[in-house]
């Protein structure tokens, strides 16, 4: 199994036709866990990291969830392959840049476990659309299956012990990836970000910590992991996600009603650029695709076209473009390839009409 197989396989995020995800692109649950009696990866000696990797990979490979999945050691992958995994959110930049990290990924790419990242184990589950409950249950099952095999570091008072004080306790980070073009267009996004920040939620860009919100896509997650139960953390996040989704929907309706022809024009121009441009940068294509996605949600384009747009958002990223071309490309060559791929994917898109939703 290789990264090539991951790219070409049917999977949760690029084959999600029919999912209800007008605003929430995906839901993610992450659990940080460590083996008792062994130093955390950042402080461990190479031999200790090796021991952790061996024990964890053995336990993971024995789980039915990872049958016919992928076991990838970062040291055995090319720079490009690692970058593809990061762009897919299957592994973090930190894991990809380290030498002793490994990842086990389920065949459908919903479950992935990073070994020797900041903690010994980072159990992740991702679902297309807003499905916090089912993502949590999968993570809980993996946690329960691994605990007796590996013996996790746990204290009655502080819960699951982690390398960083910001993860201790539940070790749970629950998040949603949201597409919020109308809140951005109407200038309300800063206010939303501030409000969420004051109530203990973090708002980040498309690729997590320290990244810009390309394509009006934001990741919202809990910051606190200790002192609230998993249920409380998820309830708190759910409440806010519902509110933000509602505000985005209201902003969309207002925008469509107030802007009239301008609203349709923006989507039509985006389609025009994407269908005819010969050079497209990552940033420009993300922004134009964001307008196109909004057009699908609002009935300017048929709703079933949305999944094609989502796919282009993922596959238009720099490492994906190179992996799909099968060659390393510089930035200019990538812009040519990206424009060609998008032209091809959108060639039978219908014309943009007025909003109807």
């Amino acid at each position: 199994m290789s990264v090539r197989d991951i790219l070409s396989a049917e999977n949760e995020l690029t084959n999600m036709l029919g999912a209800q995800q007008a605003v929430v692109l995906s839901t993610r649950v992450r659990l940080a866990r460590n083996l008792a009696g062994l130093p955390f990866p950042g402080w461990a000696k190479p031999a200790q990291r090796e021991e952790v990797a061996d024990r964890c990979l053995k336990a993971l490979e024995a789980l039915p969830r990872f049958r016919r999945g992928h076991v990838l050691r970062m040291s055995g992958l090319s720079d490009l392959d690692r970058a593809v995994l990061v762009e897919r959110h299957l592994v973090s930049k930190e894991l990809a840049n380290g030498k002793s990290g490994a990842a086990v990924i389920s065949r459908d790419q919903t479950c992935s476990v990073m070994v020797n990242e900041e903690d010994h184990l980072r159990i992740q589950v991702v679902k297309a659309g807003w499905h916090l409950r089912s993502a949590w249950h999968l993570a809980e099952q993996l946690d329960d299956a691994l605990a007796p095999r590996l013996g996790f570091a746990f204290s009655e008072r502080l819960g699951y012990l982690t390398a960083c004080p910001t993860n201790v306790g539940t070790g749970l980070r629950a998040s949603a990836m949201l597409h919020l073009p109308a809140l951005c267009l109407s200038g309300h996004m800063d206010k939303v970000t501030r409000g969420l920040g004051q109530d203990g939620l973090a708002v980040r860009g498309w690729l997590g910590e320290g990244t810009e919100a390309a394509g009006n896509v934001f990741q919202i997650s809990n910051q606190q992991t200790l002192g609230r139960s998993e249920e409380e953390i998820m309830k708190h996040l759910s409440g806010w996600i519902k509110t933000v989704v509602e505000q985005e929907r209201n902003a969309r309706r207002r925008l469509a009603a107030e802007e009239g022809e301008k609203f349709t024009d923006r989507a039509a121009r985006a389609l025009g650029v994407l269908r005819h441009a010969r050079l497209l940068s990552s940033a420009e294509s993300m922004n134009m695709l964001s307008h196109l996605r909004l057009a699908c949600d609002m009935g300017c384009l048929p709703e079933e076209r949305r999944s094609a747009v989502d796919r282009l958002m993922i596959e238009g990223q720099p490492a994906h473009i190179q992996a799909l071309t099968g060659a390393e490309l510089d930035s200019d060559a990538r812009d040519v390839r990206r424009a060609a791929a998008i032209r091809e994917a959108l060639k039978d898109f219908p014309e943009v009409g007025p909003p109807s939703a």
């Binding site: 460590n34 008792a36 009696g37 062994l38 130093p39 955390f40 950042g42 402080w43 900041e118 809980e140 946690d143 329960d144 605990a147 007796p148 013996g151 996790f152 570091a153 746990f154 204290s155 009655e156 008072r157 502080l158 819960g159 012990l161 390398a163 960083c164 004080p165 910001t166 201790v168 306790g169 539940t170 749970l172 004051q198 109530d199 203990g200 910051q223 606190q224 992991t225 200790l226 002192g227 609230r228 139960s229 998993e230 249920e231 409380e232 309830k235």
Partner: protein, 161 residues
């Protein structure tokens, strides 16, 4: 600039304004530059412990017997060395946890198969009761039913332990 608020500590004109939410209410605090530095009001919370430890000594004061990790290492990395470090640095980390976390005590799952002691069980029952009261008040009956079952389960484990 017409801002006449005074520092909460020394009474000098305040230039740093901090808002935070406690129990659903917004609390605003005002500090002058010097006091805000001293209190760490503007620092990202993670660096708070780093400052506390830096003020104490340049030489290691606390060393984990299990992995050799010291407070000096924490200052450099912001991460701990091994699970046993939590015992060694627990007290020093208390202030930081109170700041970056909701409460400095774990509520939630334990590893499958692990039997919590009675004090922990009682603390969990207490917190579940509080959640139950809040759920009933909010007419969230789905959560209330779940919590009622959870309390019954915890109470039966106290009796059998």
């Amino acid at each position: 600039m017409g801002d006449t608020r005074q520092c909460a500590i020394c009474g000098q004109p305040a230039t740093v304004h901090v808002s935070h939410i406690a129990d659903g209410k917004m609390v605003q605090m005002h500090y002058c530059e010097a006091c805000s530095q001293e209190k760490g009001a503007t620092d990202p919370a993670v660096f708070k412990l780093v400052d506390v430890l830096a003020a104490q000594a340049a030489q290691p004061v606390l060393v984990c017997p299990s992995c050799g990790f010291s407070d000096v290492d924490f200052r450099k990395r912001g991460r701990l060395g091994c699970p046993a470090c939590w015992e060694v640095f627990g007290e020093a980390l208390g202030g930081l946890l109170a700041k970056v976390q909701h409460e400095p005590v774990h509520h939630g799952r334990a590893p499958a198969g692990l039997q919590p002691d009675e004090a922990t069980l009682r603390a969990r029952i207490e917190s579940a009761r509080r959640e139950l009261a809040a759920a009933v008040k909010a007419e969230d009956f789905e959560s209330a039913a779940r919590l009622r079952d959870e309390i019954a389960r915890l109470e039966s484990s106290v009796k059998t332990s």
